[in-house]
């Protein structure tokens, strides 16, 4: 096999003299709060509308206005949607970061800058070509003085890029239409600026030979663009969530806000009134408490938060675990520990989630990896919560939750809600006839899952007393150690039962191949990309996409079937590996961790590099990885 280079992407790119078709990686550097968001969105949507497979990554600051922000758009004929660390074009519209930005472009790349004022010497570098567009001057001519003017400036680079790479103005118009449909004035002024950028390039006769974007007929046909949080919100609504309590925190707020947006539009009103309650709680402890109270009283209840909120919810989660109350927690992970990097992505709350709360606790975690699994798992999370009468986590990360992904349309599996072992007054009447006694915490079926009634059930047998303290099978207060141990053992058994219910991993095995790769969540796309590159480089791999905890037998089989298994996760301490090693230590010894935890969406290049290092026998080691100085976006 060819010797690994530090960056396998290189040969696909450098020193080419014919432009690539629909293969382009643009990075737009601006200031946040400067209006670039909508300009970037228009550009991305336009490329999408051309039918070209594309993705966007927004690397924004934890601040509202004035700090650096980067937006990366990748067009990929082969349909790879992961963030890419080799940048073809840099839109250098932020003076504060320009000095660094110019070195983020690959050799042979292109820098688009605002030449309203001449380019200072220190921003010149070798090996890349510069194209200037007088964005400031143009908007000053075109847009009447107003706060809006500054924002319009960003439309200029949209037009310039459109010309350079061949995006048809008609398509841009239709995107503007979709976006500002009801505001013709806005469409007009945006269009003027975009066109100005377009025409300027044209008059100058500027060209480039990096890439051309060409319409792919019916490409992206039927595809939607959305983020994981929105998909989860819709999933929760379709899953029957009726009590939603949350406390704002990035990156989970947009999930709750998407529910606030869609719920009134989708959920049937009942004679004019709301069939749901959405409460912005005073803090995460209250949010969790409300969800537990609502779950206890029989509603499908959920909250959503990220690391700091999860830490605060620990005690309440333990109550729900021990008192066996259904409730759902959406955890959108960000860079920790503590406040960390609130607007960057990571998968570093896995241990805290799986073992949440003091005492012996283990929880069910659903792990979507794309838009449709977000929708599907969010919907089904309420079934799992009620079936197992326990807190269920839906684990996302900021990359999956907040970045835009193109996807097949959301698909609703038409299946009945699973309310689990919920007994109505009628059921109890039946039991009574059969001379059966309702015992809240008794393991009738030997699967560790007891039967449950909810307040409002007025059958004489129905009521019981719920508590987080020791209790016997009849929900009576008890400090007897036999009762106590029985409860603990049954809860463990319930967890074992869950193994047979949670979503199984998606496994891909090739005969004769003994190298495996495991990933989960937003690492899926870069890993897919990476595995293709490794194959091209002569290294075939088997694959397992982990979709839930507790671990299922398929994971064990996969570990047994492979000699070495690379586990890709976005944290420093190999947290998922730790959970696997806890279950199967001898097999866990086969794991080589691929760890990406700098807060940026994972790139295929990084995964490839770490795997090749690992393959080269070296233990994947932080400092080693740093040594390999690769080009990467400093978002």
């Amino acid at each position: 096999m060819p010797s690994p280079t530090d960056n396998l992407e290189e040969y696909t790119h450098y020193n080419m003299d014919t432009p690539k078709i629909n293969d382009l990686n643009i990075c737009i550097a601006t200031e946040n709060g400067s209006g670039s968001a909508s300009a970037n969105n228009i550009l991305f949507k336009a490329i999408f509308k051309m039918g070209i497979p594309c993705s966007s990554k927004n690397m924004f600051p934890s601040n509202i206005q004035g700090l650096p922000t980067w937006y990366q758009i990748r067009a990929s004929a082969e349909g790879y949607l992961a963030r890419k660390d080799v940048i073809d074009v840099m839109v250098m519209f932020n003076d504060a970061t320009a000095a660094k930005d110019i070195y983020r472009v690959r050799d042979g790349g292109l820098i688009l800058y605002d030449d309203s004022t001449p380019l200072p010497a220190h921003l010149k570098r070798e090996g890349v070509s510069y194209l200037g567009v007088p964005a400031n001057k143009l908007v000053q001519k075109l847009v009447p003085a107003s706060p809006l003017r500054a924002k319009q400036r960003n439309m200029i680079y949209v037009g310039a890029l459109a010309y350079l790479f061949g995006i048809d103005m008609g398509i841009i118009k239709s995107v503007l239409q979709d976006t500002f449909g009801n505001k013709p004035a806005v469409i007009e002024s945006n269009l003027i600026c975009i066109d100005a950028g377009y025409q300027y390039m044209k008059e100058k006769g500027y060209t480039q030979n990096i890439a051309r974007l060409e319409v792919i007929p019916n490409g992206n046909k039927g595809k939607i663009i959305t983020d994981g949080n929105t998909a989860c919100a819709l999933g929760a609504i379709y899953g029957g969530a009726s009590v939603i309590s949350w406390y704002p925190i990035t990156p989970s707020s947009s999930l709750a806000e998407a529910i606030e947006h869609y719920m009134p539009r989708l959920r049937k009103k009942r004679n004019g009134k709301a069939a749901y309650a959405i409460v912005q709680a005073e803090d995460e402890i209250a949010a969790a408490g409300m969800v537990v109270g609502a779950g206890w009283a029989g509603a499908r209840a959920m909250t959503t938060t990220s690391g700091p909120g999860l830490s605060l919810m620990n005690e309440t989660i333990g109550l729900a675990y021990f008192a066996e109350i259904p409730c759902v927690f959406f955890i959108i992970q960000r860079g920790g520990p503590s406040t960390g990097l609130p607007t960057r992505t990571q998968q570093s709350d896995i241990l805290l989630m799986y073992y949440a709360s003091h005492g012996d606790t283990r929880h069910i975690i659903l792990i979507p990896h794309d838009i449709n699994s977000c929708f599907d798992f969010a919907r089904r999370s309420f079934d799992f919560a009620e079936r197992f009468q326990t807190p269920v986590f839906v684990m996302l990360d900021l990359d999956l939750g907040m970045n835009l992904w193109s996807s097949d349309p959301l698909k609703l599996e038409k299946e009945p809600f699973d309310r689990g072992k919920l007994l109505t007054a009628e059921d109890l009447e039946e039991w009574k006839k059969q001379g059966r006694k309702f015992r809240r915490y008794f393991d009738f079926d030997g699967d560790g899952i007891p039967y449950r009634t909810i307040p409002g059930n007025t059958h004489p047998m129905a009521s019981y007393f719920t508590r987080g303290s020791g209790h016997d099978a009849d929900a009576r207060y008890s400090e007897d150690e036999k009762d106590y141990k029985e409860t603990l053992d049954r809860l463990r058994k319930k967890h074992e039962t869950a193994r047979r219910y949670v979503p199984k991993p998606i496994v891909e095995m090739t005969k004769g191949v003994k190298t495996g790769v495991i990933c989960f969540g937003s690492s899926y796309e870069p890993t897919r990309d990476a595995r293709d590159r490794l194959r091209a480089a002569g290294l075939k791999t088997n694959h397992l996409l982990l979709r839930a905890l507790p671990l299922t037998s398929e994971v064990k089989d996969f570990l047994e079937a492979n000699e070495v298994v690379y586990l890709v996760e976005q944290n420093r301490d190999a947290q998922m590996a730790s959970i696997i090693k806890d279950e199967w230590p001898e097999l866990g010894a086969k794991i080589q961790s691929v760890l990406v935890y700098d807060g940026l969406p994972v790139t295929a290049g990084e995964v490839v590099r770490q795997i090749l290092e690992g393959k080269a026998g070296a233990e994947v080691h932080v400092t080693r990885r740093e040594a390999a100085g690769r080009m990467q976006l400093q978002g």
Binding site: I224, L266, G289, V292, P409, L412, P455
Partner: protein, 342 residues
């Protein structure tokens, strides 16, 4: 053997009892439980429509000791307010009674308590106030008066939080103070609280006979009895008893509650109007200045809608809605997909 006395829904007092109490003999909390049973019995409320909630503490254990036919939830320390809010949203038709302690509400639970009051969530919220942490063996709580002495002799050097005053300021719509030993006052106050739709807070002085009943304590049985300052005598008249009470002009005041029941306040000396917020605050401060415990219905605001109303919640309990009510159609989803294609 004589027929047991029954109330309007044919239940005996026994039907309102709970498991045997595990409080210390003479604990004020048991007396409060008795008043609770009396109140629900007298108002002929079906215990199976009631939910009992609490936090952690001796006081919070008591819901197990009354109305065992009701569902109960002994949650975690200081979080009863949040749990009760969730339960109320899930099923607004149930009658929630919350029992907490001065530690549970005044210390760890204070923030959540304040916000529950602010939302005016429908609940009868009883604070069994003994000025100490009973279950952890007698440390000072946030309602311990400045200068009061701990069993060991330690003196409290920070001022107390008056939870009734706080409730009034934060938006509670029915606020009372009473004493565990005064069932004549406490039972009707509880009946009124249950009839009221919104946050009804009862700050009930309830001596801890084991850790806070000694000389030097301002929450001892003796001290409390000597410093009670009732603003009025009180009677409760349930809606089904539409009898004509002939009360004396000027000295009696009638308060009509949401469900049509009435509270009659028999003035005692002073002219006290529970519907004036400022008046209530003044009265509390005046009493505190004299080292007195102001008791009775201190504040009442019939105008403010309960949280579920503010939320425009449907009448059917959310917990009773099925898939057909909750799950939008495939067509709706296709429409959303359509929007997401743009």
């Amino acid at each position: 053997m004589a027929e047991a006395k029954v109330n309007r829904i044919n239940l005996t007092e026994k039907d309102y009892e709970g498991a045997p109490s595990t409080m210390c003999r003479g604990c004020g909390h048991d007396a409060i439980s008795a008043s609770i049973m009396r109140a629900f019995y007298s108002s002929s409320i079906d215990p199976r429509k009631v939910i009992k909630l609490s936090g952690i503490g001796c006081s919070s254990k008591t819901p197990a000791y009354f109305m065992s036919q009701s569902f109960g939830f002994n949650a975690v320390h200081g979080r009863m307010s949040a749990v009760a809010t969730g339960a109320n949203l899930a099923n607004r038709n149930l009658i929630p009674i919350g029992v907490s302690g001065d530690g549970d509400t005044g210390a760890i639970g204070l923030g959540n308590f304040c916000h529950m009051m602010r939302r005016n969530v429908n609940i009868t919220y009883i604070i069994e106030n003994n000025g100490v942490y009973g279950l952890t063996k007698g440390q000072f709580s946030a309602t311990a008066d400045k200068g009061t002495v701990m069993k060991g002799g330690k003196v409290n050097d920070i001022p107390p939080i008056d939870l009734a005053e706080l409730a009034i300021i934060l938006g509670a719509t029915y606020v009372a103070r009473s004493f565990s030993g005064d069932r004549k006052q406490l039972a009707p106050l509880i009946q009124g609280a249950v009839a009221h739709k919104g946050s009804a807070v009862l700050d009930v002085l309830s001596p801890c006979v084991t850790f806070n009943n000694h000389e030097g304590s301002t929450k001892s049985l003796k001290y409390i009895k000597e410093h009670l300052d009732p603003v009025h005598d009180i009677d409760f008249i349930p809606p089904f008893e539409n009898i004509e009470v002939d009360y004396e002009e000027g000295t009696d005041q009638e308060v009509e509650l949401h469900d049509g029941s009435r509270i009659i306040l028999h003035k005692l000396g002073r002219n006290y109007d529970p519907t004036s917020k400022m008046g209530a605050l003044q009265a509390i401060h005046a009493a505190v200045a004299e080292g007195k415990f102001l008791t009775g219905l201190i504040y009442y605001d019939p105008s403010r809608p309960e949280f579920a109303e503010e939320m425009d919640l449907c009448d059917t309990p959310l917990a009773e809605l099925g898939q057909e009510d909750l799950q939008p159609s495939v067509e709706d989803l296709d429409r959303v997909n359509g929007q997401l294609m743009k």
